[in-house]
Amino acid sequence: MRFLRQTGVVGLAAATLVALAACGSGGSASDSAPATAPSDLVSKAKSEGQITLYGDANQDSLQKWTQGFTDKYGIKVQVLRLAGSQLFQRFAQEESAKQAQADVFSVTDYASLKQSADQGWLAKYTPKDAGLLPADLGEAGYFYPLQNTSNQTVVYNTEKLTPAEIQEVRSDPVAAVQDPKFKGRIGVNYPQSSQQAAAMWYQWTDGSQKSKYGWDAMKKIAANKPVFASSPDLINDVISGEIAVGVGITDSLAAPSVAQGAPIQWVYPDPTVTSAFGAGVVSNAPHPYAARLFLEWATTPEADNLYSKITQTKPINKQSKDSRTFLKESWYAEPKQAWGDFITDKTFLDATGSSGDYYDTWNKALGYSG
């Protein structure tokens, strides 16, 4: 914790420096942005007229959600959606070169957000409703868990499995995908696609489920010749029936398709892996007022209700309502346990960091060409 506080101070200092640099180079609006009164903020934000949001959540969901902000304030939101690591790479490069394109930066990977705050790439800003959000999922003053938590699931196509097979997948999805009867019918989301996906695999091979599954399980999954795909491709494959079972798809990605009538259901592995999308204002944002107004809006119960409705995820704002429609479905079961501490788990972070060999080992075990 002391480490966090120290880096926070360093981050703040860096943020101040960056802000000063931005003022020096003619950033007209960023001079006093954080200290503006709410009414002033709205008018200044409106005169900026637009923001650019970098996000790695589902493209459709982000688009529909941010439309709520546009409807309320008439400020356009341009969404750049890329995979988390690609987005962070781009963001880091732009921030290092003092070329901010993004106003709001939002990814699910806590390490990326933390590094952004530490480097001074995220501005210090505390929205009015910050207290309504769970404190452990963000970094107070820098980034907040704006969008809801999402959990890793195993999704299956109900038309491609027999009732007995559905039963088998539901009782233990990780054991089921090792069963030779699913050969050629499964797909997996590789750990490289996000920190959360990496945590899911790590938990089975080296973490809490090591004795139950371990690397032997990976060999059996490999023998079933899985399709390797990022989660957006994987969910399409399950829906179209290209594969019957997809491992490593978040419920927030699967739920909107269920609502559209796609023939899929899901089950949570036990324990599942959970994390939240965090978001913060970029320190030298091209539209600093509009970005801050967005953060104000996004932390309200109203915005969380909207996001919850679109993505069918469990709301995290204390005052918002749970509007998930699938809760009433007969097949749905809440996750029993969830691992969320991987964001600070040192052995996990070392294994999956740039000097760790987790991905190479995984690639070899599963037969993925990288």
């Binding site: 493209q59 790479q89 996000s194 990605l253």
Partner: protein, 595 residues
């Protein structure tokens, strides 16, 4: 060979376009720039052109090489010199499989494209097949679709379990077999083939049209049959052009990453996909991407060497006779039906089926491939139309479609002028540098551009996209202009100079109007390319400078394939509109006659 006096000079120029090694014709001395003491000085124009080319092309490539020796992406904090990436790529076996797979795949795609393209070119140029215009259009129409959009369509059609072809044939024929599998090595080769056949066709067809038909006539006179004449006379004469087409396609196919990425290809990881993944997949390692890029570079450079040798040899056989001898057209008789059937099949696979699949995808609410369960609606169109980015992306695409070809063609003309008319050692360098970008895979070049410009105000703007694409398309633009300029007798320009006009006035009032048809053809081809381009733009475009093609790619990456299909269809319509305007307003045709 039937050359006459007026054509002697242009064909001498055609005989060897590389000025450094060109044997000087009788008028070579007069064309050269000489200083007061009779020494050769490079002209101001050639120096300016070289500097511009170095900035456009050599700068980004050098940056990639620099990046391969860094510990992080250039410009990131705590970055320094490191050999890790180079060691990982060059000194380990990790990329051997990728390298071998990539090379075999490119060579296979190139060989097949040339065979198909050459047969099509021969049929269209040498037989009495009917509906020639329509058939030629059928061959080149795949140019109007971004290859990755075609890949999206083909994975919808031929994914092993859920592809439309497999799903519907299964219930129709009461079987559970898999008829086609697009995610296999043959599948990937097939999709790439569809999009490279037009290139091979255009290059070979241009050569066939320039071959003096009297050689073939002589062969027929001596009693040789159609096949024997084609194999013993026509084939040897166009062989250098076939080789040129082969190496050209091989080099282009080496750099393609979007198609294997979309097909979710896992038999091996093509090197270009390796570059893309190193830059994008967690934990990203841009120096490794750069190092893979340098590895690819050596092979594509070899390809370019052979390509340039081939076009040089190709020109040696070309004669432009003043006596118009039309080639004898082979009468196909009953054989015209199977021939037209083959063209029809190609059209079906390359155009009809992919567009039908895209149209169906754009109308379904989620991935539905079973015709019995289809439910159609316009939701995807509404969703795309209400996306705030779409109109903006549309504008960006139009800007790119106008600016890139225009600037590239003007610069291409300047390059051609220096190469063809001024010659000299500097001309040779200019010639080489302008061909260089073909050797650099798009994504590698784009990475160099981003690293080079990230600290400038141009970063993430449309201007940077224009700069990048002008560099990328320089070989195409200068090839068209060079070919056009070589066919024009220099004495016309000299007459202008003698009458007291300056160099630029001569270029503007004499050379430019004469090469106008070649330049317009180049313009229209580059218009299509810049509209559909994604290999470079996806890396360079910022949130405000995304063209439609990148928007479609972003949709694909986000798994919103149906929205991508909508954008893909819109993009094709825009390209078709542009080509039709060119055809009927400017009277330019996109065919091989000016290549």
């Amino acid at each position: 060979m039937s050359t006459d006096i007026t054509s002697a000079q242009p064909s001498a120029a055609l005989a060897d376009p590389t000025p450094g090694t060109a044997p000087r014709g009788p008028r070579g001395g007069r064309g050269a720039r000489r200083g007061a003491q009779g020494r050769r000085w490079p002209s101001a124009l050639s120096v300016v052109v070289l500097i511009v080319l170095l900035g456009l092309i050599a700068g980004p490539v050098a940056t990639v090489f620099f990046g391969a020796f860094q510990s992080k992406a250039p410009g990131m904090p705590n970055n320094g010199f490191s050999l890790d990436a180079i060691e990982k790529v060059y000194a380990s076996t990790a990329y051997v499989k990728s390298l071998v797979g990539t090379l075999l795949m490119s060579l296979a795609v190139a060989a097949l494209s040339v065979v198909v393209g050459a047969v099509a070119a021969w049929v269209l140029a040498r037989t009495d097949v009917r509906w020639r215009g329509l058939l030629e259009l059928g061959v080149i129409i795949p140019l109007f679709m971004s290859p990755f959009v075609g890949a999206v369509a083909w994975s919808m059609l031929a994914a092993p379990h859920s592809g439309m072809i497999n799903v519907n044939l299964r219930w129709m024929l009461h079987t559970d077999r898999t008829f086609v599998n697009i995610t296999s090595i043959p599948g990937l080769t097939f999709v790439l083939l569809l999009y490279y056949v037009p290139y091979a066709y255009l290059l070979v067809s241009a050569a066939l049209k320039n071959v003096d038909p009297s050689l073939e006539e002589a062969s027929y006179m001596n009693g040789r049959g159609v096949i024997a004449t084609a194999l013993k006379v026509t084939l040897p004469v166009v062989r250098p052009s076939l080789a040129a087409a082969f190496f050209f396609v091989a080099v282009l196919a080496t750099g393609v990453f979007a198609v294997p990425q979309v097909l979710n290809f896992n038999s091996f990881s093509p090197l270009a996909v390796g570059v893309y993944r190193s830059m994008t997949v967690f934990p990203s390692n841009p120096p490794v991407g750069a190092a893979i890029g340098t590895l690819m570079f050596w092979f594509t450079l070899a390809g370019i060497y052979f390509y340039r040798r081939s076009i040089r040899n190709g020109q040696r056989y070309v004669t432009i006779g003043a006596r118009g001898t039309r080639p004898r057209l082979v009468r196909l008789g009953w054989k015209k039906w199977p021939v037209m059937g083959a063209f029809g099949l190609y059209g079906l696979l390359a155009t009809v089926l992919p567009y039908a699949a895209l149209a169906l995808m754009s109308l379904t609410p989620y991935s539905i491939t079973d015709f019995r369960k289809m439910s159609l609606g316009l939701d995807n169109f509404v969703s795309v139309a209400t996306t705030p980015d779409v109109v903006h992306s549309f504008e960006n695409s139009l800007w790119l479609g106008v600016l890139v070809p225009t600037i590239a063609v003007v610069l291409g003309l300047a390059v051609a002028y220096v190469v063809v008319r001024e010659r000299g050692r500097l001309g040779a360098v200019v010639d080489y540098v302008s061909t260089f970008p073909i050797a650099v895979p798009g994504i590698v070049f784009a990475t160099g551009i981003v690293w080079l410009y990230v600290r400038t105000p141009m970063y993430a703007t449309l201007t940077l996209l224009v700069i990048a694409l002008v560099g990328v398309y320089m070989p195409h633009a200068s090839r068209f202009a060079t070919t056009g300029l070589m066919q024009i007798d220099r004495s016309l320009e000299e007459a202008g100079r003698m009458s007291g006009a300056g160099k630029f006035r001569v270029i503007r009032t004499v050379s430019f109007p004469l090469v106008r048809p070649s330049l317009l053809s180049a313009w229209i081809l580059l218009f299509v390319f810049s509209m559909r381009e994604v290999n470079e733009t996806v890396v360079i475009a910022g949130p405000n400078s995304r063209p439609l093609s990148v928007l479609a790619w972003d949709y694909v990456q986000a798994g919103s394939l149906r929205e991508a299909a909508v954008v893909g269809l819109v993009l094709t319509l825009v390209m078709l509109a542009g080509v039709l305007i060119a055809r009927f307003v400017l009277r330019v045709r996109l065919d091989s006659s000016n290549l």
